[in-house]
């Protein structure tokens, strides 16, 4: 993961040294992980960086297999415990948001996967949305979602449930930046 400053610095370094500047980036982006709308995606547009967006289902939170009532965590809860710890207050807010997005999809008679992939495809900075099927059935569901185009009113409704720029959990950004992750970097 690159910070916004690093993305710009890489362009500057390459240009001032007559090298070829980087032309791509890969970032998490979904209805539940919107932090990159603040800087990273506008920077990509400004400098002509292609963007592959990963995690359109937010690592399983938007797969539709999770329902709040059942209290059933997404399947990867065991392999990436930090990301799926549902006990903290931030995660609780994220759970409620996931649930409300599922209800919105129901109301629109779309699957949650349709809504999630359609949302990620709607951002003008995104070149392509990375899907992670584990089976041919998963792939079929994703392919159906590629035909979904969400209208303004649907995107507005998503914005109402999860405001633009929202990251519920710091590590959802892809990585925690070294300047705050490592104590050595902020202590004399």
């Amino acid at each position: 993961m690159f910070t916004p400053a690093q993305l710009v610095e890489a362009q500057w370094l390459a240009t001032t040294n007559h090298l070829i500047p980087p032309l791509g980036n890969q970032v998490p982006y979904s209805m539940l992980v919107r932090g990159n709308e603040r800087d990273v995606l506008p920077i990509a547009q400004q400098y002509g960086l292609g963007v592959l967006a990963y995690g359109p289902l937010a690592g399983g939170w938007l797969s539709g297999s999770f329902v709040l009532e059942a209290g059933k965590p997404p399947t990867r809860v065991h392999t990436l415990p930090g990301r799926y710890d549902i006990s903290g207050p931030s995660s609780e807010r994220k759970l409620l948001a996931a649930d409300s997005l599922a209800r919105l999809a129901d109301k629109l008679e779309l699957s949650l996967v349709d809504l999630a992939v359609g949302f990620a495809l709607a951002h003008p900075a995104i070149s392509s949305v990375i899907i992670g099927p584990r089976s041919e059935e998963h792939l079929a569901a994703y392919l159906r979602a590629a035909d979904v185009r969400l209208g303004e009113s649907v995107l507005d409704a998503i914005d109402d449930l999860v405001p633009p720029g929202t990251n519920f959990v710091e590590r959802d950004a892809g990585a925690i930046v070294p300047s705050i992750e490592f104590a050595e970097l902020r202590r004399r």
Binding site: F2, G24, L52, T79, G118, S128, A175, P178, E184
Partner: protein
Amino acid sequence: MSLSELRVFGRSGTPISPLTLGTMNFGEGTGTQGAPTGAEEGIRIIHAALDAGITAIDTADVYSQGESEQVVGRALRGRRDDVFLATKFHGQMSPNPAHSGNSRRWITQAVEAACAGCRRTGSTCTRRTGPTTTPTSWKPSPPLMT
């Protein structure tokens, strides 16, 4: 939106499909990611995705410790030129600390290993520095911890 409505990848000039097939799940699961999809199933998924109109694939050296790259290489036999292929370096590939990170040496080795995966399986990967093998997720080195 449909899969055939290609989008240009930034200023590269390369049109790619709006969906990219991610392959982190492919391999027998020797990596930390717990890949649940075996090689044969992975190849079937890749072929189904290409047949449906997907033209971009994303992998990484660390996905199942190289297995994902090999599955992709096998699946792309004879179809390599149809695909915009992204892979990554930086992650730890062996207990040797030199087999990770962003040194010029390791980047070169990682790209050559990715391309060797293609060659071994009869696919071609000749544009090592071209847009078809753009590493899209190289990462800054974390500070050296002692």
